[in-house]
Amino acid sequence: MLATICFLARTIGRLSRLFGRGGGTSLPGKIALRLYPSIASELTSGKYVILISATNGKTTTTNLLAGILTEAGNDVVTNSEGANLMSGIVTALLKRQNKKKSGSGASQTSGEKFAILEVDEAVLPIAIDSLSPKLIVLGNLFRDQLDRYGEVELLVSSWQEQIPSGRTMPKIVANADDPLIISALLPKLKNLNEKEKIPQKIFFYGLEDKSIGRVEPPLIYDSYGCRECNTTLSYEFYSVGHLGKWSCDKCGLENCPWNRPTPDFQITKATTSGIEGVSLEIASKHPDFSEPLHITAPLPGLHNIYNVAAASSAALALNSESVSITPQHIESALKNAPRRFGRFEEINTEDGKSILLVLAKNPASANENLHTISQFNSRELTNGNPNNANLNFLAVLNDKIADGKDTSWIWDVDYEMLIPSLSSICVSGTRAGELALRFQYGGLPEEKITLEQNLKTAFQMCLKNTAAGERLIVLVTYTALLELYDIAHEMNLVEPYWKKN
């Protein structure tokens, strides 16, 4: 049965690639699950399953952790293309199964077999149920796709109730800086008695370097008061959105379970250097890592400090088990981490232009990306043409199901931080008009906004207006990114994304 389904899946994958849509990253799995509901657990049997969930940063964290474990000589299967519903997970697992059958990509390694899978926040309970992970990584929760999820709080309670506790509880690596993650883990933190702590089951990572934190609270945040006493949280500093070094001043006593835990893995130093990426130091109490890790990664922005910390902490937490991971594995895997799939991904054209693709799909991710861009120096903004400070900018908003049908989130994005440096902007996508309104009410005069609903026309026009040696920055939603890959592929600028990534 399994063999038949693998064959079928391979055929479907090829066909859907032939038709040029979706790159075959979900359809085979969708059909396989329909035919054979227990296929996911069968495909992961004998593998050490790690699930990674968060509103933002799942794809990057998954790719980073996969890179580290591969570097350490393990056999890794992952859904690196960001298809994170059960259908996408099963597709990734099937693909690997087929590769092995055909002999290519078969494991040559002697290490452990890992399945490192990013999972949609709402799907996490189902994925835990069908894949029985040994480790889960919980990054952050922000408002996102509320047309699907209803409220962020509904996700918090679903995680609270459905992440297994007690004997079946997987090892958890979690972000101490997100009060919503702590809320989601609250019942477990309350029940952890000393006996359960050894061996340690929950590991936290968090930012301790105040110098990179923000003093001002974010414009919007999704976490409010202490769950025990309702007091508004205090912050020593903010980092990404409502993340930061927080505490409850009223009941933040040592015995209060609801407080920011002291991180097991502490980011003691962190710096961002424009488009070049980030560097950080991670210190831990782990006996094998008495010296802090010194990591540089070519991934720009403060949010990537968290992604790097999440992947490194997960690797360190694994170390006590059968795998052996050294600081060198982590440092060298992260040093060469590729920027994939619209995460500040650069495409260079033959005539010397640079296109920077920036995926922004909810207020928190968009705000971090804009922060990152606003800290670029003029050379980085315009790609080395300091005499021409003209910023070439294309923003695309789609409202397909994968983007979220409700586009109101763009009004929570702080485009205002970019608007003073814009001499013009082009807006496109299925909701270009909404985006034009956003920039207009954000203070950009109407005549500086070019509205072109057709993405291909808009992209070609913007590229034409970008001189050789200049950079075009493209801010896109998820489905717009897929469309843009198709367009860029047609123009011979890139390979199709399912080959490329």
């Binding site: 509320l146 209803g150 409220e151 962020v152 709080e153 049908k405 109101s408 008009g433 309104l437 009410y441």
Partner: protein, 280 residues
């Protein structure tokens, strides 16, 4: 510098930190820009949890946006303690105003639910401001079947309180996402004990053309009493509905300046037209 002649609209934004789920900032931005583009002043004051609102008469427009249930519980408690009475009296025209014209209220989604008399979340009852003659109920089956999607309604609203006032027909578009079901209270059946409900008697804000509206059953959307509008429509509401935005601004200026309120010059709404057409 604004001259003495420059007219000002003063807006009170209620709970911007707690009640902002559907990008409610966008509605405030529209009010601000559309006033400033025409040479008016825009003044804004924000009231959070714990800030007492004792004198509501200095504001021309009150705004409260959407929030999650967890936020609404805290806000309802704070409203009762620090703001509800002043808001109730001002919005129903019971407070002293120079021209006897009540100020404007705009309450969206969670804000709308709290502008009514009560909101029952399962067995927990939240008391609202009681300016709109509605109540809202959420039980488990509602929770499992949220009313979500594109919404279009039609309505007619008067331009002013004067003799020459006209009714403007409007088609309002946006998005809705709520678990609570809202009913307009039939005052002829209102309980004897609740005679105070009667002064809040509401009509529906509009008739549903596409979507669910108040409860997905009776074809009504939102509620209006005096110059207070409650609605489930976000998106946010005002950017794509500039005629409604201008009407609220005109009402607010009339509250402040009476017959001396300056007329609003017309603006180019071409992006809004495109954005409305994009909604499928």
């Amino acid at each position: 510098m604004a001259s003495d002649k420059t007219q000002t609209l003063k807006v009170c934004h209620l709970y911007p930190n707690e009640m902002n789920t559907y990008a409610d900032r966008g509605n405030i931005a529209v009010l601000k820009r559309r006033l400033e583009w025409r040479g008016f002043n825009f003044a804004l004051e924000e009231f959070e949890i714990g800030d007492a609102l004792t004198d509501a008469t200095e504001f021309d427009l009150f705004y409260m946006g959407g929030g999650q249930d967890i936020n609404q519980i805290q806000v309802a408690k704070d409203l009762a303690e620090t703001k509800a009475q002043a808001l109730h009296d001002a919005l129903l025209g019971k407070a002293d105003t120079p021209h006897s014209i009540p100020p404007v209220g705009l309450f969206v989604c969670g804000g709308y639910q709290l502008a009514g008399h009560f909101y029952n979340i399962y067995d927990q009852q939240l008391r609202g401001i009681g300016v709109l003659g509605v109540h809202t109920i959420q039980n488990e089956s509602h929770h499992n079947q949220r009313l979500t999607g594109t919404i279009k309604i039609k309505t007619e609203l008067p331009t002013s309180t004067s003799q020459s006032s006209q009714n403007i027909p409007l088609e309002i578009v946006g998005y809705e996402n709520h678990a609570g079901r809202t009913q307009i209270i039939d005052m002829s059946l209102a309980d004897e004990e609740h005679t105070e409900y009667k002064e809040s008697a509401s009509k529906s804000f509009g008739e549903v053309l596409v979507g669910h509206g108040n409860n997905g059953a009776d074809g009504t959307e939102g509620a209006i009493t005096a110059r207070t509008i409650g609605t489930y429509i976000h998106g946010p509401l005002l950017p794509k509905n500039p005629e409604l935005a201008d009407l609220l601004i005109a009402w607010g200026l009339e509250h402040r300046y009476g017959a001396k309120a300056q007329e609003l010059a017309s603006l180019n709404n071409s992006f809004a037209e495109v954005a409305r057409a994009e909604i499928s």
